[in-house]
Symmetry: C5
Subunit: 308 residues, 5 copies
C-alpha cells in the first residue's frame, strides 16, 4: 500500500534516520482506522506494573488476560499496542503481525519505598523487541529526578542500538523530581521542557501528559510573560508543546491520566487535534471500561482524529 | 513419551518462547509422579545460605549431605530439585539426568547487617546451569526493596540469556522493603502484585508465599473493597494470585514457609489445588523431618495434586 | 583547496594525532569566511537542553526549528555548528556536507534538583557523530565538581575512540563545584586551570568563558602576585589562558555567556583577537536576535577576526 | 605417580568439576611430605599486605625476600605456597614447577580508614594465575560485611573463569561485619556458617580460622541448644565445621592466627587432625621464627598429619 | 649496545615478566648519562594537573611549552620524561624515539572539593602509551584513602594489560587518607608500607617520597622499637624502604617534593645513593629553575649517581 502524502511529509522530518526506523513509523502511521492520516491512537497497558494488578484490572477482570488488549486494539482499529515483556510475549504468536507492538522496556512500581529517587528498572532489551517483532521500544524518562541523567544515558544507548536494528523509539517523558511539586509536574513550561528533552535525545515519537496552564520555573515565567506565550487554552498548550519538539518535526502524542468521564476524554482529543498534536495514548480510560463502551469511546476518538 | 493434553494446553500459553525453554518446562511437567498432570512439587534447598547450616540441617544431620536431597526428590517422585551451585555440583555426576535441576543463582544470608537494604548476591550464572544440565535458573526478587529495580534488571538480563540458551526461568517473588512491615510482606494485594511483577518480567514459573487475607496498600484497599474481591479463603487468594499472573497463563507454585504441622502442610496443598495453583515448593517441611516421615508427607501432597 | 600556511602551522602543533583528526581540524579551519585565517566562529545551540525551549527560542520563534540554525551558520559563513543529537539529525540530510558539525555528546538541564553534584548526561556517542558526518564531538567538563573525575574519565575514553575514528574533540571546560562560588567560576586563575586541564586531557579545541580579573585560589594568588602575571585587561587574560593551553599549541575559543548588547559582543571579539585567541563560540547572542540583526553582528565578528 | 586411594576418594567428591581443576587438586594433594595422605600444610604469605612489611618481616629480615618463602615451603615439604602477585612473580622463574602456587587475588591493608565497610581489592586475575603456573587462586570473603554480597559475586565470577581454565579455587572465609563483634567473628556458629557459604559458592578448598566455643547468633543458639550440638572441644568444633562443608565433601584447612607458642600450634594441628580437618594454613607462626626453628615446627606438624 | 652486568642483575629480579617489559626497563636503564649504572633520574611534569598552570610554570614561562621539558630531559641526559597525555602528544613527533616516555595515566587536581575522598581520574590508557611509543605507564595510588581499593583494582588491571603489550608500569605510591594526618603521610613506616603495596601490586618501578623519621601506626611503632629498626638517618630510611620492596628486588626512585634549595636537593641524592635507592624523580626543583641552573643541578645529581 502506498503511503499518503501526509505520512510522507511526516517522514521527511526524520532526516538522517535509518530506513528500518522509517519503515516502523510507516507501519504505525498506516495501521488501523487512522492509517494515512498522520494521527495515532495507541493502547498502552503497563499500569499493572505501575499500580498493581487489582487496581488496574479488577474493575474489568477480562483485562487480566493480555489477549484481551491485543484484541481490543485490533478491533478498535488502533495504531499500536504497548506493554511490558510478559504480556507482549503472552500473545506474541496468536497476534503475530496483526498490530504494531511497542515493547515498554522500563517500568516503575508502587511497592518501592516512597523516599527513593524516582527511576525505573530496565526490564527488556532491543533484542527482545526484535524477537517479538515489535515496531518500537517505549522508554520512560523522569526529567527533574536526580536519577534522570542516568535514564537519559540509558535511553540514548538503547535508541542508538534500536535505530541500527531498525526499531523506532517512543519516549514517555514525565517530569518528576526532588525539586518539582505535583503542580510543577504538569506545568506547561515543565511539560514543554520535558518534551523538548525527549526530542533532543532522539525520540521518534514523544509522549507527554496534557499540561495545565501553570508555569512553574521562575526563570521560565519571566519569558512566558515577556513573550506573551499563549497557554490559556488546552489546544494552545498542545501547540506550544509540539513547537518545543524541534519546531513540530516530531510525532507527539498525549495521555490523559486516570480514568475519567467520557466527555472529558473526548474534549482532550478535540484539543489535541486542534493544537496539532498527533494523537492520544490512552490506557485506563479504555480497558477499565466494559469492552463495548471502550470500543464506542475509541470510535469517537478515531472520528475526531480523522477530521482534517 | 508424548505429553498430555493438560501439559500441551499449559505450553500453549508460552507464546513467543524458544523451543528450548518449552522443552525444559516439559521436562519438569512430565517428571515424577505428577508427570502430565500440570501440577508440580519442587524441593528447594537453599536454607543453608539463608539461615546457616545448623539451623537448616542439625535436626536431621543426614541432610548436611547434598546427595540426601537429590535422593529424596527422586524417591518421592518430585518434579524438580532446586539448590545453589555448591550442593548441585556435589551430586552432579551421581544423579546426572535423573531429575530436573533448578540452579538457584542468587542468595541472601543471615550474617548481613540488619540495616542493609534487602538484596541478594548473584552467585551463579546461566552457563553454570548449562554445564550442570539444569532445566531452569531460580532467581529471587524483593519487590518493595530500594534494591528491587537492580534485581529486576539483573533477572531481565539473565532470563533473556537463559531463554536463548534453552534454560527456563523460575522467579521467587518475595515482597520485602523499607515501606513494608511484616504484615505487608504477606498481604494478599502485595503478594498478587509481586506475582504480577514476576510475570511481567517474563518468568516461566512463579513462586510466591501463600498470602494472608490482609490488604496492605491504601490505594489497593479501595479497589478490593469496591470490587468485592474475594480473599476470604486461602483457595480464593490462590485463585486471585493465579489470575494476577497474566490471567492464569503462567505456572504458579506456592511455598509455605517455616516447618510446621503436617495437617497444615496438607491443608495448604488442598487450598492450592482448589484455587488452581500449580503446586508446592516445599523445603524445610520436608528435609527437617526424618526421611520416612518426609516421604510419607510428600506422598500425601502428590496424591492431592493428582486429583482432578 | 590547499591549506594556508597559518593553518599549516596550527596543524603542526597536533603532533602524534591521527590524519583523520587533522583532516577534521582542516575542515573547520578552512570553512566559511574565516577559512584559512586560523580563526573560528562557531554557532552552538544546546541552550534548549540547558535552559528549556521557551527560555531559548520564544524570543525568536523561528529558532525552534533546527533548520534555522543550520541555515544561519551557513549564511553567516561560520566555521561550524554545534548541537545535541536530535536537532543535528533533524537537518542531517538537507544540510549534509555543507557545514562542519560538532555533535554535543553530553548535556545538563535546569530541571535537575539544585543540590545535586554538578554533572551531565552522555546523550550521544562517537558512532552517532560518524553516522551524521560530524567533524567533532563536543563534551562539557566541570572542573571543581565532585563528579569531575568521572567526567574526565568519560571524555578521555571518548576522545580516544573519536581520534581513532577520525573525529576531533572539542572540550567545553566550565569550572563548577562545591568549593567554587560564582565569582570563582569565572576567575582568571580557575579559567586558565580549567583550560589547562582540557589540554592535558587531549582536547583538540578548547572552549572556555572569558574570565574576569579575579584570582580565586589562595595558593594561586601568591603566584599571580609574585610573578606579576598581567590579568588587568581582557586581552591579557585571553593571552594567559592561551598560554595555559600547552604554550599556545591548542586552538582556544571563547564564549561570552548570556545575551547582551552588541557593543559588548564586539568588544569581546576584539579582545580575543588581540589576546591571540582563536575565535568565538556564540549562541544566544546570535539566535535570540532577529535573523537580520544576527547576520549583521556575525559579519562584524568575522571582520574583526579577519584582521591580521 | 599414581594417586592414593585416599586422594581418589577426596576427588570423587568434586563431581561436575573440570578435569583441569581435579588435576590441580591432585598436584596439591600429592605434593611434599604429606603427598597422598589427603592432608595439607600450606604456607601463606600475604601479611605484608595486611599488616605492612615491618610488622611482618622485621623480626626475621630474611623474610623480606620472596625467595625465602619459596625455599622454606620446598625445604619443609609443604603442599603449597600462597602469596599476592608481586612476591609470586619475584620467584616465578627460579622455582617454576617446584611447588604448587596459590595466587592470592584479593587483599586488604591496615592503612584503610577504620570506619570503612570491610572489603578487599582484587589485585590479580585468573590469567595472572595461569601465566605464573599456579594451581589455584585464593580469595577472601567477609561474610557479615555490607560489602560481602559484592565479594560473593566477584568470587563466583572468578571461580567460574578459573574452573574453565583449569585452576582451582581456595576461599578464605573470614566473618567480619557491622553486626559482628570480635567475639562473634570467631564464634563456632558463625565460622560454620562462613565455611558453609564458601562451599555453596563452589570453593574447592575452604580456609577458616579455628573457632571458639561461643555461639553468637540468637536464632542459631536455640538450635545448638535444642540439638545438643557438641562444640565443647576444639576437635568437635573442627568436625562441626567440616560437616557444614557439604557434609564433608570439601577440603577444609584451618589457620591459627597471630604468632604464638609452639605448643599451641602443635595442639591446634592435633585437634584439626582429630576433628577430620584437612590440615593447616600457617604463616606468621612459620616465617616469624628463625628458619631452623620454623623447619623443626613444620616437621612436627607434618608428622601429626601423617598419622592415620 | 650490550647491557652492563649491573643492569643484567637488576633485570634478573623481574622473574616471570614479559620480554617486552624487560626491554622497556633496559631502555630506561641504558638511557642518557646514567645508562648502565642501574640508577635513574626521571623528569616528571604533571604539576600543571595537580596545582594548575600558573603555580607550575609562571616562574619560568618557557616551561608552559611541553617541548621545553622534552628538550631539558634530553639535554640533561636523563633516563625518562613523564607527563600526562596532552603534553606528551604535543612533542610526540618532534622527539619520537629520543628519550623513554612515561605516560602518566591518572591525575588529580586542586579544584576538587576539599572534603572528597582522595582519588584520581584515569585520563589515558595503555593503548595511548603504545601509540605514543612510551616505555611505561605511570599510575598514582593513595594507600590509606577510602578510594584506594578501587585504585588498586584499576592499576592491577592496567598493569596486566600493559605487561602483555610490552609496556612497563611505574607506580607513584602516596599515602593519603581519612585516618592519616600530614605527619603520617610521610612517616617512614607508612612510606615503607606504601612502597611494599606497590611492589605487591606488581609495579616494575616504585616511586615514593623521601620519608621522615616519624613512625605513625601504633602497631608498627611497637615493632620498630622492638626490632630497633634504624630510621635515624635519611640513608637508613631509604635502605628500609628499598628492603620493603621485595627485599630490594624492585627499582625504587624517590621524589623530594616542592621546590627547595640546591643543597637540599643534592643532599637528598647523596642519601638515596647511600641507602641503595635507584635514583631521583625530580620535577619542580628542575623546571621551576632557569634552564641553565636546572642543567647545572641535574649535572650534579647525575654525578652523584654515577659514583659507585
Amino acid at each position: 500500500m502506498p503511503i499518503t502524502s501526509t505520512v510522507q511529509s511526516i517522514l521527511r522530518n526524520y532526516e538522517g534516520e535509518t530506513p528500518g526506523v522509517k519503515a516502523q513509523l510507516v507501519r504505525m502511521l498506516m495501521q488501523g482506522r487512522l492509517g494515512g492520516t498522520g494521527r495515532m491512537v495507541i493502547l498502552p497497558v503497563d499500569q499493572g506494573f505501575e499500580h498493581g494488578p487489582a487496581r488496574s484490572f479488577a474493575v474489568n477482570p477480562a483485562a487480566y488476560d493480555p489477549h484481551y488488549h491485543y484484541q481490543l486494539a485490533l478491533d478498535a482499529g488502533l495504531s499500536a499496542y504497548a506493554a511490558p515483556l510478559g504480556p507482549l510475549e503472552a500473545g506474541a504468536d496468536t497476534f503475530a503481525g496483526q498490530i504494531p507492538l511497542i515493547l515498554k522496556v522500563n517500568s516503575a512500581n508502587s511497592l518501592l519505598p516512597s523516599n527513593m529517587p524516582k527511576t525505573q528498572a530496565i526490564t527488556a532489551t532491543v533484542d527482545d523487541a526484535l524477537r517479538l517483532g515489535c515496531a518500537a521500544i517505549g522508554f520512560t524518562i523522569y526529567p527533574g529526578s536526580s536519577m534522570s541523567l542516568e535514564m537519559f544515558e540509558d535511553i540514548a544507548e538503547m535508541r542508538k542500538e534500536a535505530a541500527l536494528k531498525g526499531v523506532a523509539t517512543v519516549i514517555w517523558s514525565y517530569p518528576r523530581g526532588e525539586d518539582l511539586d505535583s503542580k510543577g509536574e504538569t506545568a506547561v513550561d515543565v511539560t514543554a521542557y520535558a518534551a523538548h528533552i525527549a526530542a533532543l535525545l532522539g525520540a521518534h515519537v514523544i509522549k507527554v501528559k496534557l499540561p495545565s496552564d501553570h508555569v512553574s520555573q521562575a526563570e521560565a515565567k519571566k519569558v512566558y510573560d515577556a513573550q506573551k506565550i499563549d497557554v490559556s487554552s488546552q489546544a494552545a498548550r498542545v501547540r506550544h508543546v509540539v513547537q518545543a519538539c524541534l519546531g513540530g518535526r516530531r510525532i507527539v502524542v498525549f495521555s490523559g491520566g486516570a480514568a475519567k468521564g467520557e466527555d472529558s476524554v473526548i474534549q482532550d482529543a478535540r484539543d489535541i487535534q486542534a493544537g496539532g498534536g498527533n494523537g492520544s495514548i490512552i490506557g485506563r480510560n479504555v480497558f477499565q471500561r466494559p469492552r463495548a463502551e471502550a470500543l464506542a469511546l475509541l470510535d469517537q476518538l478515531v472520528s475526531i482524529y480523522k477530521q482534517r
